[in-house]
């Protein structure tokens, strides 16, 4: 104390400098701390933000690929047109025949949009599902028993599969679910609350609109027949289905991948001789 009184000015200078030096250290500490905290927030705690970022990245990559596919498809169409032009049907019947075969194969594979008479089936959750579930759960309007009962009045992937199978059996030639074309490799499957079709969430959530081109009346009758899927599953009873006959149904082309990764043609193997116009 006495020293300070003796030389106060000098002393003041000294302490301010010392504090300044440690202030620098403090600045470093705080900066480090803030930066660490920031980086941490960016990377670690809310896992959802990482997943969301990942998801957006993959989505962007996917969109890029989709554009590439669309471009390549346009190229293919152009080449085919060139092929047809450079060798008209008269000059080269062989190539014309090949072109026709190609068109038929594509149609069979589901690579062309199609239209024709058919049916439109709408599958939805029962409008009175809560009421029914409550009744079947013994009056409870929540809890495990109610939830279990409720499941019976919701549309599931099995219902979509059942209807599609029934339509195919009745002679449907092209089927789409919520505008996703069904092809030979298509799967219809629940992933959480939505239905994936062709590996894409395009199926969406209910209602499901199933469109089919084929013999209209036969398809409708097949769906409504006693012992058929809709009957055994009581879908009509609970107003979960609407069937509509239409003169003109348009079904989009399949837009997924068409390459095979595992299966290879057998060398010298059998090639089916298919009937092309239904008359043999």
């Amino acid at each position: 104390m006495s020293v300070i009184v003796a030389a106060p000015v000098q002393k003041k200078k000294q302490w301010i400098w010392q504090i300044t030096v440690l202030s620098v250290v403090l600045g470093v500490l705080l900066a480090l701390s803030l930066e660490t905290e920031r980086v941490q927030k960016e990377n670690l705690p809310p896992r959802f933000s990482i997943l969301a970022k990942e998801y957006r990245n993959l989505q962007a990559i996917n969109e890029g690929y989709a554009k590439q596919i669309a471009k390549l498809n346009v190229d293919i169409q152009q080449y085919e047109r060139l092929l047809r032009q450079s060798s008209g049907a008269k000059s080269s019947p062989a190539i014309a025949k090949l072109g026709q075969k190609l068109q038929e194969a594509r149609q069979f594979a589901g690579l062309t949009a199609l239209q024709g008479p058919g049916v439109i089936v709408k599958l939805m959750d029962s409008p009175k599902r809560k009421e029914y579930a409550q009744r079947y759960a013994g009056g409870a309007d929540s809890g495990a028993q109610y939830e279990a009962a409720l499941q019976d009045f919701l549309v599931h992937d099995s219902d979509v599969n059942g209807v599609v199978n029934e339509l195919r059996a009745a002679g449907a030639e092209a089927i789409s679910v919520n505008d996703q074309r069904l092809v030979a490799q298509s799967a219809i499957r629940c992933v959480g609350p939505i239905i994936f079709i062709n590996g894409k969430p395009g199926g969406g959530s209910p209602p499901y609109i199933i469109k089919a081109i084929g013999p209209r009346q036969e398809m409708k009758d097949a769906l409504e027949m006693t012992g058929g899927y809709l009957d055994t599953q009581h879908l009509r009873e609970y107003n979960m289905v609407e069937i509509q006959v239409a003169d003109q149904v348009t079904i989009p082309a399949y837009d997924g991948p068409t390459f095979f990764r595992y299966a290879k043609p057998v060398q010298g193997g059998q090639v089916a001789q298919q009937a092309t116009d239904g008359r043999g």
């Binding site: 104390m1 300070i4 009184v5 106060p8 002393k11 003041k12 200078k13 000294q14 302490w15 301010i16 400098w17 010392q18 504090i19 300044t20 030096v21 440690l22 202030s23 620098v24 250290v25 403090l26 600045g27 470093v28 500490l29 705080l30 900066a31 480090l32 701390s33 803030l34 930066e35 660490t36 905290e37 980086v39 941490q40 670690l44």
Partner: protein, 123 residues
């Protein structure tokens, strides 16, 4: 003017590090934050002591080192023995002292300004 030197020093240290993307492992981040709070407390304590004319450099320097290390060590110790809230003890103590020191510094400044005004009027 001299009083602004610590502020300048603080900014210098801050700027030198902040945009360099240096970080410490995330496990140690809470301890570092606590050490920084202890640093703020010691600096303010030093400024206050300086204003009051009882600044002693050995007390100040040892205070800075021991407070920062101890605050971090206390939090670490708490985590180890399963009392992770132990760091709150350091936060409460240091926080209280930061406010106390700030209020004393503020009072000192206001008094000085008032005294200066009075002497102006007197002249």
């Amino acid at each position: 003017m001299m009083v602004w030197l610590p502020v300048v020093g603080f900014l210098a240290g801050f700027i030198a590090v902040y945009w360099r993307a240096f970080t410490v492992p995330s496990d140690y981040a809470p301890y570092l934050s606590l050490a920084a709070i202890a640093g703020i407390d010691t600096i303010l304590g030093g400024v206050r002591a300086g204003f009051e004319g009882r600044f002693e450099n050995d007390v100040f320097l040892s205070g800075f080192v021991v407070n920062t290390v101890m605050a971090a060590a206390l939090a670490y110790f708490g985590d180890q023995i399963g009392v992770p809230d132990l760091y709150l003890a350091a936060v409460v103590t240091l926080g209280g002292r930061i406010f106390l020191n700030l209020s004393l510094i503020r009072r000192y400044w206001l008094n000085k300004a008032r005294a200066a005004r009075r002497s102006d009027q007197g002249a």
